[in-house]
Amino acid sequence: MPKVNDYDDIPGTTVFDAARSRKGYHLNSFCMSLMKAENRAAFKADEEGYLKRFGMTEAQRQAVLKRDWNWMIQEGGNIYFLAKLFFTDGNSFQYAAAEMTGMSQEDYAKMMLAGGRPIEGNRSKSEWENRG
């Protein structure tokens, strides 16, 4: 279903719609499992083994093992589910957000202190393409 949605024009943004939700079901279910301390311990002790408990795709498993947050989102992950994973790692939303932008957390934090990423130039994919 390569359906085109109005929100697909927003750059650097993946809306968690039906298609993403269906794609990410098992990945996000794995994340939910980390809400129990014993599951977190089992995951930490043997990440690959633990991941086999869930019906995830190979791409989803690799993305998790590599902590590649953008890749996880591409494979149907949603940030609030993924939070269970970076919380398990002892990391924060700001850590994950910085990772996804490709900035260091320090640079990202500086950007936020300076007022955040501006809306000007960040509304539409065409603006990102034109900035070269």
Partner: protein, 282 residues
């Protein structure tokens, strides 16, 4: 009859909870945020609500992908604190108000809002951080809480217009509750502009946020026309949480008095917006 004293909006950034839990509220980065909540701490004592009707969103905590209610109402006696990946927040269990919650549920379902009734649920930072911001660190919450989770995780959330109309029905239901002199405050949590994902993470739209703060009191109807596309584009993929402010606003009287306004960037990734309104019942 129960009385709606007023309403309060606030962000519910989890890092704010962590800063409080770990004693970092005096660090300059966090102090700038917490100072904005000093007024709320005195106001809530003046308002002395018996019940907070707390509109928030669950962040993939109580609701997984298996079941996603658009609107739900917590009717249980109590709501345990969820473990979101680092153990439950060290805050007291939340006590509900089943009499009022059930009354509201029955009333708004008959008014044709299609609620999900919940009798067992854990609550996450979306609910506990606003309580902590207002009440600080306490042994017991000095108030009963009715959790009202709204789906803003799975697209599509309810529309801004639907949320505002739901708020009106909730307000009518609360006011018709027969227990004498029950004092109710409505919280609308979430927002303001933020995006937690992808290459556009860190987006802040101060102009959009300030316009939203300007209108929510005197002219909420204008905000009910904001489409999901506009929220996503202008306030970030997570800024769409702002629809929940309209539920709170709908529950208040037509005219409201704004008694406090605060806007601060950033708390972690988010523009913190915090306002207090008092009802102006005729």
């Amino acid at each position: 009859m129960a009385k709606i004293i007023g309403g309060l909006t606030t962000s519910h950034v989890p890092a704010l909870g962590a800063a409080m839990d770990n004693g970092k509220t005096e660090e300059p980065y966090w102090k700038a945020v917490f100072d904005g909540y000093e007024r709320a701490k005195s106001w809530i004592v003046e308002a002395s609500p018996d019940v907070i009707f707390l509109v928030y969103n669950d962040h993939a905590t109580a609701f997984s992908m298996d079941l996603i209610p658009t609107f739900a109402i917590g009717c249980a006696e109590e709501f345990p604190i969820a473990d979101e990946g680092w153990g439950p927040r060290p805050v007291p269990t939340v006590k509900g108000h089943p009499d009022l919650a059930w009354h509201v549920a029955q009333s708004v379902i008959l008014d044709e809002f299609d609620l999900t009734i919940i009798n067992k649920m854990e609550v996450d930072h979306g609910l506990t951080v606003p309580l902590s911001l207002v009440y600080g660190q306490v042994k017991e919450w000095p108030v009963r809480v009715i959790p009202f989770p709204v789906n803003v995780v799975q697209y599509p959330p309810p529309t801004a217009n639907r949320c505002y109309n739901l708020g009106k029905a909730l307000g009518k239901a609360i006011r018709s509750f027969e227990q004498q002199d029950l004092r109710v405050v409505v919280f609308g949590t979430g927002g303001m502009s933020h995006q937690l994902q992808g290459k556009r993470a860190g987006l802040i739209n101060k102009k959009f946020d300030l316009a939203f703060q300007d209108k929510i009191g005197p002219n909420p109807q204008a905000l009910t026309k904001i489409s999901h596309l506009e929220f996503l584009r202008e306030s970030g993929s997570e800024g769409i949480e702002l629809v929940m402010w309209l539920i709170m606003r709908g529950a208040l009287s037509e005219q409201v008095k704004e008694v406090h306004r605060f806007y601060h960037v950033p708390a972690s990734n988010t523009a913190v917006g915090h306002m207090i309104f008092e009802s102006q019942e005729a």
